[in-house]
Subunit: 174 residues, 2 copies
Amino acid sequence: MEFQLDHAKEILRRTPATLNSLLRYLPEDWSLSNEGPESWSPFDIMGHLIHGEEADWIPRARIILEYGERRAFEPFDRFAMFEKSRGNSLGDLLDRFEWLRGESLQELERMSITPEMLEKRGMHPELGAVTLSQLLSTWVVHDLGHVGQIVRVMAKQYSEAVGAWRAYLPVLSR
Amino acid sequence: MEFQLDHAKEILRRTPATLNSLLRYLPEDWSLSNEGPESWSPFDIMGHLIHGEEADWIPRARIILEYGERRAFEPFDRFAMFEKSRGNSLGDLLDRFEWLRGESLQELERMSITPEMLEKRGMHPELGAVTLSQLLSTWVVHDLGHVGQIVRVMAKQYSEAVGAWRAYLPVLSR
């Protein structure tokens, strides 16, 4: 499927409600458990999504539109949330993400992105030249991927509880 | 994590809202596309979830409570929805699933399940002896797994659009 800005916004604007529905007021047994050492809980993933709004998507789109390939993006810290989320409740993180996503989408509107602008190139510090369209596609896939990770992590809490049905549940071995 | 009926209901009651948030009024480019031959679109998955409410979870719980291991479950048709969903819109399927899930949860309440009842055994036609607690755990994991499948299928529509970022997006190679 080709990238279309309107299609992408359809997904991006839904993510806060999806996360609310999955996680708001959920018992901590579900929201604080992870998949084992070095893996993330739904709480950790919420912090990561917040950091993306603050430091990744819109800031990088701005760099592409202002500097093109002349200025590489700041490297993105995939572990920033372990410090930043400290002291917050899951509800705090859901609220903050919802607010930030609203701001991001407003900023995206203000950019008045044309098909020509979508082809503008920027410089990723590791991947090299990338386009604005690729950045915005990645934002969409990143949202969907982390929603998928949240439900997988939750599902795995019942890996033993399902007994013999485990054989029919591929999500438990991903 | 041990199975707890209250914990399980927390997930089961949220799934209709999660699916609404992900899919209601979504452009068909997102909802009717699958992962390739023999794979399911979000529309197909909705039909499968509906068939589960009608033919799997509560009906099997009833068989366990009424007959124990003396009567095996009816085999579940994983492809029934291709015929049954025909002529419905995605909105129809979301409405139907929401209604059926509400009915299922009411029925679950009416069963007044005690810890002893959770250990009751039934007979799966392929897996052999299983318990009510394992059936209800599987219901939860099945919900979460199919939410994960829906977002993965959607994410894959942008497999090419993300360009070099693909290397950082594990959801695209699952």
